[in-house]
């Protein structure tokens, strides 16, 4: 197992290398001039050029890449072109809201979706099954931002139960922390929940058709026992895979949710950096997201051994 883990970590390095080169080139090829954006609307071309030179953006691209690469080798993600703060500091400042949102969304989605999917599979063809599937289709189709505005209107403005926006760290109070996360979690969690519910239903349904399930019934095992002792573990592998793959969906959704609910997380940091052409932050955040995604999938792969004893690394 240890050898497998080390092999997987080593295999991540060339992937990271490709991400580094690709993102570095992409942001510079895309139209946009950070010096002009920094200088502001009233600046003259001469002032813009002075800023460009001051930031080192007038250097040849290979020279800029070399500077970036050597900094990266030292663990330095560089400085924001705009605020001049270290990118690592900016990421650390913003990671907590995103992590809180991602974890709460994952937990919410998994806790709701898996029982729903199991129920739908168990009662396949019934009204309950159809209701769950309609919910799944609807949940996947509803835009996150639209749902977010609807939730704000209903629960914040009309019912005055929850705050409209913002993030409060758990260090400043558990109750405000939870209250500020409820609506963003539901808005983002719904699409994830819909996806998981469908996959869970399909996976459980397939397992329930298996011979060993028929055997279990023939042996006199009661339905709950068949479901929980035999079916679920075998149905878990595709569900866990979807959780891992869906993480990318979550990252994309986090960007929108953070904008609607004004959560100061990594998603908004990325969007702002793209609009402002802050190359350093775009590069740093993309690298972090790629790394996290690779690690999440590694954890998912390792978790298969919990569900299927035949799988060994």
């Amino acid at each position: 197992m240890l050898v497998y883990v080390l092999r997987r970590i080593l295999a991540t390095l060339p992937v990271m290398g490709i991400v580094v080169v690709f993102v570095f080139l992409l942001v510079r090829i895309a139209p946009g001039d950070p010096a002009a954006i920094i200088a502001g609307d009233y600046a003259t071309p001469e002032n813009i050029q002075k800023i460009r030179v001051g930031l080192g953006l007038d250097k040849p691209i290979y020279e800029q890449f070399w500077i970036y690469l050597t900094s990266l080798a030292r663990g330095d993600l560089g400085r924001s072109l705009h605020s001049r703060l270290p990118v690592s500091q900016l990421i650390l400042q913003r990671v907590e809201p995103t992590a809180a949102l991602a974890l709460s969304t994952l937990s919410f989605a998994i806790l709701m979706a898996i029982p729903l999917g199991i129920l739908a599979a168990w009662k396949a063809g019934s009204l309950i099954d159809r209701a769950v599937m309609v919910f799944a289709v609807g949940g996947f189709s509803i835009p996150i931002f639209w749902l977010g505005f609807l939730l704000i209107y209903a629960f914040s403005i009309r019912l005055d139960l929850l705050p409209v926006q913002g993030y409060v760290s758990f260090r400043e109070g558990l109750l405000p922390f939870i209250r500020h996360l409820i609506l963003p979690t539901i808005a983002l969690g719904l699409v994830y929940m819909a996806l998981l519910a469908r996959i869970t239903r399909a996976s459980v349904l397939e397992v329930l058709q298996s011979d060993y399930i028929r055997t279990a019934y023939a042996k006199g095992v009661r339905p709950p026992g068949v479901l929980f002792a035999h079916a679920l573990k075998n149905a878990a592998v595709p569900v866990v895979t979807t959780i891992g793959v869906g993480f990318a969906l979550l990252i994309g959704g986090v960007v929108i949710t953070e904008s609607v609910f004004a959560l100061p997380g990594l998603g908004r940091l990325t969007v702002d950096a793209i609009l402002q052409r802050d190359y350093s932050i775009i590069q740093g955040v993309t690298l972090i997201f790629a790394l996290v995604y690779a690690l999440v999938n590694l954890v998912v792969d390792l978790s298969y051994t919990l569900f299927d004893p035949r799988i060994r690394y």
Binding site: L174, A262, P264
Partner: protein, 529 residues
């Protein structure tokens, strides 16, 4: 203890802990404001970004400032003298001025700050181009000696918009203005920047500077006594407009600097929300004077005669109470208002526009209009221009992009026939403060190759403006000079002014009072219940 009692006791303990962790309301008065943008840059001499100038008004102070009549008044300066030959200004600072680190403000700080500011600022460049010397005489006095009289010296030092001549400590002011200064953000303004609480993109915090000594006069626009009545001001970033308005309605924030025009009807209906006119903007069509047919003045005049200001303003700001037509390059209602030479602009005529285009030699080639989709007002103007041009038979290539891309393409001088990234037309706005200051307003420069994007070229207008700066405002000679300058602009068309639309600020009127109505939000004077 029985099992039931143990459970009850545990429940009470948990409830108590939860309540204890529920967060206590702060004892300080805090104003939470959603501004037009996030504070990213902290050096107001480095960038013209409005939000950085706004940040500057919190943390820094100026030698002079404009009052509500638009007249420069001493601010950090206590007294100043102008010699009889109008060549020597002697400035003496007020008593009690301190930097936020407790050190006294000295004349050398001001000398270094003026020099740094003038490197990039157009108004400052005009002053320093005429300066023989600028030196500190002692800790409280500095002297500016000119080579020739310049009547706009004090007005330049009272400039209210980018680059505002904020005073910095000498150790910051001696640094190269092509880079942001390095070091703690220390000013002498009424608020201190709370660096430890700054989360770029999320929150910027300012704390009352307890040692600030305000002037004795009542506050008047940017001038007068800057008395701070709150402990903290937080600039909160809420990127989505609907969310920001909902937050104001719910009381989670106290102030929105610039809600978008589609939110105004909603805000006006709320009995707890007050609105005031924060700024006035002039929309402008900027043709590329180096790209045919706009290198021909007739093509530019065609744009002017094509433009129906009401049509544009309705597209930009909707309800007529949100805009006004204005046939002056220099703003309506300001000290330089004039409509001399504006006959073409006042009488839109599409047939005449078509004719002028033909006379300019237009033969049906594509005209590239850049439209920023993420800037609602400018996008509306761009779409209106494209539609009007098509009506008069122009072959329009409307290219939609984000503002960042437009800003990166704007410096390209080559026409689209030579460079695919070239352009013919873009639109932008100028704030009211800039309109009233043609000497410092980059957009209206007619200095040809040295002009702003579009490279408007009118030696006549350039000369007229230079001469106007040497005349005394209010005199007949000044009025005549102003009319001549404005007529030159109307005839040579550096850009087409499309009238003025208003920008409103919104605030919780049940909580905030005593707001000074100015383009930048002035948090001194404000009272929060």
């Amino acid at each position: 203890m029985s099992r039931r009692n143990r459970i009850a006791a545990t429940g009470c303990l948990l409830a108590g802990l939860l309540l204890a962790w529920s967060g206590q309301a702060p004892a300080e008065t805090t104003i939470r404001a959603v501004m037009t943008a996030e504070v990213k840059y902290l050096d107001p001499h480095w960038t013209t970004a409005d939000i950085t100038q706004q940040h500057g008004y919190m943390v820094f102070d100026t030698l002079f400032a404009l009052d509500e009549k638009g007249q420069p008044q001493p601010q950090m300066v206590d007294t100043y003298r102008l010699s009889a030959d109008k060549l020597t200004y002697t400035f003496t600072l007020r008593d009690g001025l301190k930097w936020h680190d407790g050190k006294p403000v000295r004349a050398v700080d001001c000398v270094a700050s003026i020099k740094r500011w003038a490197v990039k600022d157009a108004a400052g460049q005009k002053v320093m181009a005429r300066a023989a010397s600028l030196e500190a005489a002692n800790d409280k006095t500095f002297v500016l000696k000119l080579k020739e009289p310049y009547g706009l010296t004090i007005r330049a030092l009272a400039k209210e918009y980018s680059y505002v001549p904020f005073m910095l400590p000498e150790r910051l002011a001696v640094q190269d203005p092509s880079k942001p200064f390095e070091g703690d953000v220390i000013g002498s303004g009424p608020f201190m920047f709370a660096a430890k609480e700054w989360v770029p993109g999320a929150k910027t915090v300012y704390l009352k500077f307890k040692d600030y000594v305000p002037r004795k006069e009542p506050a008047s626009y940017y001038a007068g006594g800057k008395v701070v009545n709150v402990d903290r001001v937080e600039f909160v970033v809420i990127p989505d407009q609907s969310t920001a308005v909902a937050a104001l309605e719910k009381g989670e924030v106290d102030y929105l600097q610039r809600p978008q025009v589609d939110q105004w009807p909603l805000l006006r209906k709320d009995p707890n929300v007050g609105m005031y006119r924060g700024d006035i903007y002039q929309m402008q069509i900027h043709p590329n004077h180096l790209a045919p047919p706009f290198d021909n003045v007739k093509a530019r005049q065609a744009l002017m005669v094509m433009a129906n200001q009401e049509e544009y303003l309705r597209a930009i700001a909707g309800d007529p109470q949100n805009w006004r037509t204005c046939y002056s390059y220099l703003g309506c209602g300001g000290w330089l208002e004039t409509d001399a030479g504006a006959e073409l602009l006042k009488k839109p005529d599409l047939e005449r526009a078509k004719q002028l285009f033909a006379e300019a030699g237009y033969k049906g080639e594509k005209i590239v209009v850049m439209a920023p989709s993420d800037f609602a007002t400018i996008n509306a103007a761009s779409l209106t221009t494209a539609a009007l041009l098509r009506k008069i038979g122009v072959n329009v290539d409307l290219q939609t992009m984000d503002w960042g891309t437009l800003v990166s393409r704007r410096p390209i001088k080559d026409p689209p026939s030579k460079n695919p990234a070239g352009w013919h037309i873009f639109h932008t706005t100028s704030g009211y403060a800039a309109l009233k200051d043609p000497w410092g307003h980059a957009n209206i420069s007619t200095a040809c190759d040295k002009a702003w994007f579009g490279w408007a070229c009118s030696p006549r207008a350039t000369k007229d403006l230079e001469e106007l700066g040497n005349l005394t405002p209010g005199t007949d000679a000044f009025k005549k000079g102003l009319a001549e300058y404005h007529t030159a602009l109307m005839e040579d068309v550096p850009y087409v002014p499309l009238g003025e639309f208003f920008a409103y600020a919104a605030y919780r009127k049940d909580r905030l009072s005593n707001i000074i109505e100015a383009p930048y939000t002035l948090f001194w004077g404000m009272v929060k219940k």
